[in-house]
Structures are given as structure tokens and as C-alpha cells.
Symmetry: C2
Subunit: 332 residues, 2 copies
Amino acid sequence: MVTMQDVAERAGVTKQTVSNVLSGRVAVRPVTEARVREAIAELGYVPNLVARSLATGSSRTVGMFVPTVSTAFYADLVEEAEDALEEHGYRLLLCTTRRDGERARRHLAGLTSRSVDALLIAGDQGLTDHLPLLSRTRFPVVLCAWETPAPARFPVVTIDYEHGGYLAGRHLRRLGHENVTVLASPAHDPRVSGFRRAFAEDGLEVPDSAVHLASEPSFRGGVSAAEEAMRARPSATALFATHDVLAVGALEAARDRGYSVPDDLSVVAHDDTPGGLLARPTLTSVALPHREMAREAIGLLVGAIEGGQPAEPRRRLLLPRLIARDSTSPLV
Amino acid sequence: MVTMQDVAERAGVTKQTVSNVLSGRVAVRPVTEARVREAIAELGYVPNLVARSLATGSSRTVGMFVPTVSTAFYADLVEEAEDALEEHGYRLLLCTTRRDGERARRHLAGLTSRSVDALLIAGDQGLTDHLPLLSRTRFPVVLCAWETPAPARFPVVTIDYEHGGYLAGRHLRRLGHENVTVLASPAHDPRVSGFRRAFAEDGLEVPDSAVHLASEPSFRGGVSAAEEAMRARPSATALFATHDVLAVGALEAARDRGYSVPDDLSVVAHDDTPGGLLARPTLTSVALPHREMAREAIGLLVGAIEGGQPAEPRRRLLLPRLIARDSTSPLV
DNA sequence: CTGAAAGCGCTTACAG
DNA sequence: CTGAAAGCGCTTACAG
């Protein structure tokens, strides 16, 4: 491996001068600089980033935790974060937790050392318990895509899921639906509260009995929950699913039952994934500004790194918006 | 930041002893070890991995290039690679190229330094031109998911795409189909050659005119290409799509045309993505051993790192297998 | 089993 | 504008 010292010898200067040429922080005489650059080219010198990190105390790497990378939401988040990071000259160290707390803990422990300048934690599954591990950490931490109440110590940039649910509810209300049913995956989902709020505004109540829990946020989970919902409340004219994937399952269940969507049953979903566009009918869904979220979180992180201080623990809520497609129609 | 030196002072030993305790490479007297561990706990000492990397010459990090992370195929690849890596005590530095050559080049240049012990390059899009950059690289490189001819210098563990196409063709042949049509995304896809080979075995030819190119490997691309194919060859009883996503588009096009799948048209696809399972009818498709591929590639890489020599440039081809579902049926 | 020394390849003040 | 020195926090032989 060719080092700075080798370049210096070849150029007839000391390695400090090579360092100066590379960093550009100190002016170097043009002739000298030319000689140095020539030596670099001839030798094919590439700086050792590990050595630089040790000397500067910065690895120019940001760690990112996501539950998984195999859903469109988190995949987009990762790619957007990587883009934003690259623009700032940082690299991405990826850790997928698979919603496994123990796994998350291990990864977290591995990063606590100087190998990362900052940490972006996207998604609260499996990780919340281990956040205290980060307490005595030196580097900035930002939370995002946080659906549950977030620890106040960390800044969080997330989505107003409650508002997303509200938009879904308001949409159905405007279409005239009163008798509705809800498919949710975790019990206490802010999307459900928001949905209820929209109905409450019109003096209507969405009773607990109208809310059906899916065993898991999957197509299968959606099918079963929807079957149950339609059986329990056959008079419902609309259905809200807290996740697109549940709604796609509901579409299938409706078809199996001989219901036509949206004529017999309007379906509104949340998260607006590509799968919703592929479904037939195409899904009306609440779109999430997740790319903006990633970008903003990275901005906060980079600002904190460069500012030399932890990002201030503020809370930023991004607003989703509803996209009406073919799965909802006015109540006739 | 608390250093090894701090721990040593607290424990009344030198830092070498602390190092010995941590590495376990040199035996340490139990009493001493206990004192050291106590000091570590009291101080909350965490080793600086950057310093360790500089001293050892290994960052215990592997870089991975993928075109994107937002398709199930590559998402799985990344997660599996991460798992395999973690089992060996390595971390994952992720670079998504977005099929953008310039972007790939930049990332590649950023890794050429000591920040990574090895490199896994998955997917040939956008990168092939820049592979020479890696020539004088010190660390091991393995290529995977390589559909085009791979440079001989690097070991490659990939999938036998030609065989995948063959399986699709043989499936249709066994069902009695003779008059078929093909949807492909890149012009020269080994899947198409394999598909043809299956027909050739029975003395049948799949003419060029039966192969329709999709503008892009997307749902939309599949719809258009399938419309064109059905118009050009209305007598075809079966269709092969080189990618699930094209096949899902074909399903839509068939529905629009009033064709029933599989009664009027059998559809067989390749890649077996989750979307194919969600489609109606569910897609018969060729499943790829992509997780095994990632795992094997990482195994090669770790072996090379630990062995201290570049992975030998061998070529490993993993076999796909066909999964029959509802989109294909015998010719009546 | 434990300690003194040198070194990994850079950067950062600090003289000249 | 350029060079000598110290240091980043670890590990690795090598004595004792």
C-alpha cells in the first residue's frame, strides 16, 4: 500500500505538504502542488480513510437502523438517506433490525465506538427498549418514522400518522359513508385515532367493535381481518385499512365474498405503496412524505455533526396527503 | 472519550494488558483480568474501532453494491448478506447505484481506500464499465447476480438465468403449448435463450417475431408489451415473461382484452417475486436461490479476507426452480 | 503473565 | 509557503 510518505519522497517534499495539497486547507506553491499531484498519479496513491478518521475523529459515515429494507417504505427511506448523505460527503452503514430487539441491541453496541459519526434510527420496532444504550453516546442521534411516543431526549422527524388517519376518515365522510369498519395491525395505531376524529367531527362514533385487528401487517392478515370485519358488520359501506397491504388483502376478501369495490364497499388505505397502485381497483390511500422525512433527518444529523453538538431534541411532524383512486366512491 | 489508557490506569496495569484482556489472545491472570473488567465497566469503556482498524489493517466492514434496494430481489440480497456478514463479525456499508454509472464510479472511488475489507457487487447494471477501477485494488471482490458475461478476473456467484428460462419453456412444453409469445426487457436475456432451448429440444422454434421487448421492466412496460404481443400473435396459447413484474402487466393486458388466464392464455414468469403471489391468478414463476447466492458470495469474501488472499476467480452458478401456480394450465 | 517500544497512516498546530 | 513534532487509540512482537 502506497502511503503519503511515499508520495512525499517521490515529490521531494514532506508528507505534511502532501496532506496540505490534499486538504486544500493550507496554500501550497503551484509548482510544489503540481509535483505532488504528479507523484500521486504516478504512484496511484489513495488516502487511507481509516488513518484519516483516527486523526480527525470523524469517519464520515452515518449509521442507519431500519426494521427491514424489503418494504417500499423503508427501501425508499434508505435510498433517500443515502442520497442526502452522499451530497454531504458521508457514507451509509446499514443495519436492519428485522424487528428483533436482540439483534438491534447487538448492532447498536457495535456502533457505539467511533465508527460512525451519527445515527439515524428509522422505525421504532424492536429498538425502543435499547435506546437508553445510546444515552451516553457521543454522536448525534435522530429518530424518524416513529409511530409510538418517542423518548424526549432525541430529536425526531416523523410523519403525522394521526393526521393521515384523519384524512382517510374525512375522505369517507365527504363521500357520505357513516357505517364503516377498520382494519388495524398494531392495537394502538395513531392512524385509527385520527380516523375516529374525522367521524367525531361530524358527531359520529366509530365503536371499538368496528375495529378489527390483523394478526400481522400482511396480505394474509388483511384477508382474515377483512373477512371477520365483513361478517361482523355486513352493513358497513366502507372500510379503512391502516396499511396498504392490509387493504389489498381486504380487496381479495371482498372479491371472495362477492362484494364489488367500490360499489358495495369503499376501501381507503394508508401508506400508499406501489402495491396499492397495482391492485384492482387501484387503492385510494394516504401518501407519506417519507423521502422528505429521510432528507430532513439527514440534514439534522449532518448539521449536528458539523456543528459539533447533538441535534437539539425538537419534534418535526410531516403531513401526509390523501390520494383518491378507484377503490372509494360516494355512498349512493 | 475514555480510552484504553484510562482503563489501564484505573486498573493499575498498562494498556497492553487491557488489550490482552479484550482480545483474549494472550492469557491474563484471573485477578488482573477481573480488575481490568471492573475498570472497563466502571468507566463505560468502549474500544475505538477506528484505532483498532488502523492498527490491524482491517475495518471488519464489507461494502456492497446493488442497483437498488427497492425490489424484493435486491432487498433480500442485502438482508441476507447482512445476516451472513454479522455471523462472521462484519458490518455492511451499502451503496445503491440506481443503475447510474457515474454514481457507481464515485462510490467505488470512495471505497478504494482502507475503509472496507472486501466488496460484494450485486447486479451488473451501470457498473461493468468501472470494474477496471477495482483492478489494482487490494481487497477481495466478488460479483453476484450477474446476468451479462462477467470479467474473468473476479469470482462470480450468480444464478443460471439460462436454465431459469429453460425451466419456464419446459413447463409450457409439458403442458402442451406450442404457439407461444415472449416478453423480455433487455434484448439479450439469457432467460430467453434458455426458453428457446426448451422448445428446440422438441424440434420447435420460437421465432424472433414472437419475442416482444418491453420498454422497461415495469408493470406499465409489461402491459404495453403484452398488448402488442397479443395483437401480433393472437393465436398464442401461452406467454413467457422474463420478469414477474412484466407478467403482472401481461395479466392486466389479458384481462383488458377479455382473455381469461390460464384458460385462454397461460402465463409463466421468471424471478418469483412477492408481487406474483399477490397477482390473480397467482403467477407460475421461476424462483431464484438469491439468498443462497448472497450467503455464498459472503462466504467467499470472508474466506478471502481471513485467508489474506483474493478469492480465486471461479464461477459458481446456482440453479433456479420453477414453481407452478394458477397462471398456467395444460393446452386443451 | 506483564510492561516498554514501535508502528499503523494520517492531521494539526507550530516554528521557520 | 514548507518542515519537524506530537498525537489520534489501538495492536503487535519482544523483553523480562
